[in-house]
Subunit: 276 residues, 2 copies
């Protein structure tokens, strides 16, 4: 047989990977979850039909959603991740020598379980002594914390379903309160080619509360358009400037990429200057 898994990245654009088998297909309490073995990218996790992570290209997303803030903050000791239940971002957080505690709050325990069962290179982080995995609603968790974290990372799905509230101003205000006085927030904010509206929503929402708001980019083959954006809100430090000078082994991130990622193509610059 020929088996192909297709994500309709937009109603008019299909992204199809040749597959050999499905390892898990189920409806959880929150979303439709699937793990598929693809030829091009290895094992792939899909939520509501959208590619979340694959073995082959996960390094870009996970290095870039974590290391910009971690390396721009001089003491990122206490880090919170909301979403990202596969554990890939947590893996990067806990291997950073500046971090003493990495807390992951995931709403859907089935995501963490799928990772434990099929993505050992992601879920290895769950066993790290610095790590804490909490199955709970991130929005409530954030409200229950004040002045607690150095860095908060929002590793969410796109703003439909359970992730919708993660792109609203009230949520960003809660994060602002949960961060220490020199804290930093990073959120994934979708593709500048296809999701202008999401970028404007994240950028203007964050910009309402944080004195420094910036957008940066990374190239991720399995995400729509291949170009992905992240939005940072910072209370004090400039997120563009890496201050960590230690040695870590990366496949995508370098200190030069750290700064280059903030240089935006003209049309992307226009999205955020028009959007605020």
């Amino acid at each position: 047989m020929e088996l192909w898994v297709t994500e309709y990245q937009t109603p008019a654009l299909g992204f199809s990977c040749k597959a050999s088998e499905t390892l898990r297909v189920k409806q959880t309490a929150f979303q439709h979850l699937a793990v598929v073995v693809t030829e091009q990218f290895g094992k792939m996790l899909l939520l509501d039909g959208m590619v979340q992570t694959t073995e082959k290209d996960e390094f870009v997303y996970h290095e870039m959603i974590t290391m910009i803030a971690l390396n721009a903050h001089p003491a990122p000791e206490n880090v919170l991740i909301i979403g990202g239940g596969d554990g890939g971002a947590l893996r990067e957080v806990v291997r950073h020598p500046g971090v003493s505690r990495g807390t992951l709050v995931e709403i859907d325990e089935e995501v963490a379980q799928a990772s434990r069962d099929f993505f050992p290179n992601h879920s290895c982080s769950f066993n790290d002594p610095k790590a804490r995995l909490i199955i709970a609603d991130g929005i409530q968790f954030i409200k229950d914390n004040r002045n607690a974290f150095d860095v908060v990372i929002v590793d969410s799905t796109e703003p439909v379903g359970p992730a919708r509230a993660l792109f609203t101003a009230p949520f960003y205000e809660s994060v602002y309160q949960a961060l220490k006085d020199d804290g930093m927030l990073v959120v994934q904010s979708e593709s500048p080619f296809f999701n202008e509206d999401v970028i404007k929503m994240a950028y203007s929402g964050i910009n309402e509360f944080f004195p420094i708001t910036k957008l940066y980019l990374a190239a991720i083959p399995t995400y729509p358009s291949g170009l992905w954006s992240f939005t940072v809100g910072s209370k004090y430090y400039d997120p563009e400037k890496p201050v960590f000078t230690g040695e870590l082994d990366f496949k995508y991130y370098t200190p030069e990429i750290h700064q280059a990622a903030f240089e935006l193509p003209a049309f992307v610059k226009k999205i955020i200057t028009e959007g605020v």
Copy 2:
């Protein structure tokens, strides 16, 4: 009906666009040519089933294959493009105020004709007083010229079929001879995620003859993986440094993007340091 056009970007990866109709489907003397109207990217030109250019995202490729060299060379008066018969790169070349002549040498006249018939925003360049369109074999054309050009741009298809010879050392040597003493060569060199071999071939071939060889990147949604590489060979000037200070209206290029495009993710850096 539902009509979808699919490029198999690799044997295990399909890129599918919803389409409304085909405007041209024919076998030329050199390749299979198709023009399709897609919902996501507007009109799309395919050669041998591979997306070459679309109305919506062509700006990235055409600005980035031309403006790096044109803006790093202080006097890019005489510019040659090999391939690129759609005229998009030529459009960028002739609008640059430093250029007095832009010559396009395309082997397949049907590509230029399809552009005239369906891509007015590309083929408008053919009528520019600075432009010269020649239907001929670029490899022979290059051999017939010595010390003639300031910038040579190779806007080819991937190294199969007619474009194969454009990725070999003898061709790069001919280009070296065809360039003036301070000339610069730019070639498109495919995706760092999927075409490591092509990058190594281009980089090491160019590096054999040119004292300065550098790789840079741009984000192109309709090309495999969304991340595209270009390799520059320069006889004298540093291609990373923009020296043009005039005003031109761009959708992707900025002087900051010019420099940031040369900052390579760790895994891309590895491809070229291992490859030479």
